[in-house]
């Protein structure tokens, strides 16, 4: 697959503060790329650099295979739909009028593009309402409609679920999944809500304190993620003592308030442990496999970075 977006040692220094430090990211055609990091990690600054809203201190951006310069950026902006932080609108105008302004700014003659974009984000019924009367979720959806208006190849969405309630987050998440699957767009989505990103993306870039810590396929993360077995038993201390005394292929045991967690490399150990517990008259109330998430992977990386 070809790279639609590449950054090469992208760096941005504000006076003495390095907001983005040698960031290299690669978004391929068809990707749903999760750009994750805590607040202030450098996500929005990186996106602003990609869109030429900021001037890099060092490094450069490649879009659609070409190095971006001040002279050619306008031609690439036609092929990108972007939503940066909170979507901004003219509050005295309706949703449709706001999209019409963007349509003309993008140089699109086809007025039906507005209807089409509103249909995708399911905002057709509210198109004649003034934006000042929209809820935050509706504004986010209208913002996504604006990014789709000119049928771009690449969507860049900066924190699209920011400030939304759980229902709103699910709506936006489903919308992004729908756009990716049914519209065939390449999407770069930045967020600090890791478990939300995890459900949408196929690749993640993890940024912390301006540095790119890792860029991996989601499948790769799942392979790397450790598996654990959780047991809830009637006599916790006795159970842990017995397991510790046996020669079983396990990494370590972690005591919890209502059970214990065993880190394993082989899931088949489960039947061995259960058998031992039953033979020693310990009642197993519950046993299940727990897989560590993107969040755990993220925490592991950022903690390593701190050390």
């Amino acid at each position: 697959m070809s790279d639609l977006l590449v950054t090469n040692n992208l760096t941005k220094v504000f006076k003495s503060y390095t907001a983005v430090n040698n960031v290299n990211l690669h978004v391929e055609k068809g990707d749903v790329y999760g750009f994750i990091g805590q607040n202030g990690a450098g996500k929005t600054t990186t996106i602003r650099l990609i869109l030429s809203l900021l001037k890099p201190t060092a490094g450069y951006v490649e879009l659609f295979g070409d190095k971006v310069t001040n002279n050619n950026i306008y031609s690439y902006l036609r092929r990108i739909g972007a939503m940066i932080e909170m979507p901004g609108f003219y509050l005295n105008l309706t949703g449709q009028e706001n999209l019409d302004i963007h349509r003309i700014m993008m140089g699109i003659d086809d007025k039906s593009s507005i209807e089409r974009a509103l249909n995708i984000v399911k905002l057709n019924e509210a198109k004649d309402k003034k934006v000042k009367n929209y809820s935050l979720g509706m504004k986010q959806r209208l913002g996504i409609a604006r990014t789709l208006l000119h049928d771009p190849e690449l969507l860049i969405l900066d924190e699209p679920t920011n400030g939304l309630d759980p229902k709103g987050i699910i709506e936006i998440r489903d919308l992004i999944i729908d756009i990716s699957k049914n519209q065939g767009k390449t999407i770069m989505i930045s967020s600090h809500i890791l478990n939300e990103v995890e459900k949408m993306v196929n690749k993640v870039g993890i940024i912390n304190k301006g540095k790119m810590l890792a860029e991996v396929e989601k499948d790769e993360i799942q392979k790397r993620c450790k598996k654990s077995l959780l047991y809830k038993v009637d006599d916790l201390k006795k159970a842990v003592d017995i397991i510790n005394s046996k020669q079983i292929n396990i990494d370590k045991i972690v005591m919890q308030s209502d059970g214990f967690l065993v880190n394993v490399t082989d899931e088949n150990v489960n039947s061995v442990i259960t058998k031992i517990l039953v033979e020693n008259n310990i009642m197993v109330k519950e046993s299940k496999i727990v897989t560590s998430s993107l969040e755990d992977y993220f925490m592991e990386l950022t903690e390593m970075e701190s050390v």
Binding site: L53, K55, R78, M86, G88, F89, H102, M105
Partner: protein
């Protein structure tokens, strides 16, 4: 560029700012008519207009300050500027379209002011070609001169990025300099040049004004300098 100016007009649609602008423009005219009816009924209407011309000029300049601040600062407040910048339109053209809109607004509101006075004059004393020429001339001189000051206000609005603070800076400066209007060296503050020039054009010889070439030259230089600064500021990438 025509489409960009059209978009600037669309952005003002259904805005409460239109009512404010209209009120600031129309109120001084109404006051002049009321003053004539109550106090100067026996005089010629045009003499009341001439005597109160400074109020009209000041109201037009207030409109310039308010509207210029509004069309710039709202793009920051409503976070729309960033979305203009990620379109394939040049930033300079976007800014120039705002200047053209400002020119059109000054032209229309000036026409409303002087047109209303012309109509009132027609019904009260009938209209002579001399009065017609004076009012038309005052409108055209005022429009061009006030427009030449817009780049200063736009630059302040771009520096501040906030409607209230940039409005206060511009209005306070304007009010502070007002007393200099009656001094011979009033041109030190170019914002007073249109007011004094229009007043003199309407035969109010309280102040000796400069000739038109010098007045337009000073305002022209101010316009070009601040236009350059505002374009530079608008295109600036941190």
């Amino acid at each position: 560029m025509r489409r960009l100016v059209y978009l600037e007009l669309v952005k003002l649609k259904k805005s409460s700012m239109n009512v404010i602008l209209l009120a600031i423009t129309v109120l001084p005219i109404l006051l002049i008519i009321v003053q004539y009816v109550v106090k100067d009924g026996k005089k010629v209407f045009f003499s009341t207009v001439s005597a109160n011309n400074t109020i009209i000029s000041m109201s037009i300049f207030s409109v310039v300050i308010i509207v210029a601040n509004y069309i710039i600062a709202r793009e920051y407040k409503e976070r729309t500027l960033i979305y203009l910048f990620i379109t394939p339109k040049s930033k300079t053209k976007i800014l120039l379209s705002k200047y053209i809109l400002l020119f059109l607004i000054i032209l229309v509101l000036g026409a409303l002011s002087f047109g209303t006075l012309m109509i009132a004059n027609f019904f009260i004393n009938g209209i002579t070609s001399k009065v017609l020429a004076k009012l038309l001339g005052a409108w055209l001189i005022g429009t061009v001169m006030f427009f030449l000051l817009t780049s200063v206000v736009v630059y302040v609005a771009l520096l501040r990025g906030d409607f209230i603070s940039s409005l206060l800076i511009s209005l306070v400066f304007f009010m502070f300099t007002c007393p200099f209007m009656f001094k011979n060296n009033y041109y030190i503050f170019p914002n007073l040049i249109p007011i004094v020039t229009v007043s003199n054009f309407l035969n109010i010889n309280k102040i000796k004004s400069m000739d038109y070439i010098r007045s337009f030259s000073i305002l022209g230089v101010v316009f070009i300098v601040f236009l350059y600064l505002s374009i530079h500021r608008f295109n600036r990438k941190e």
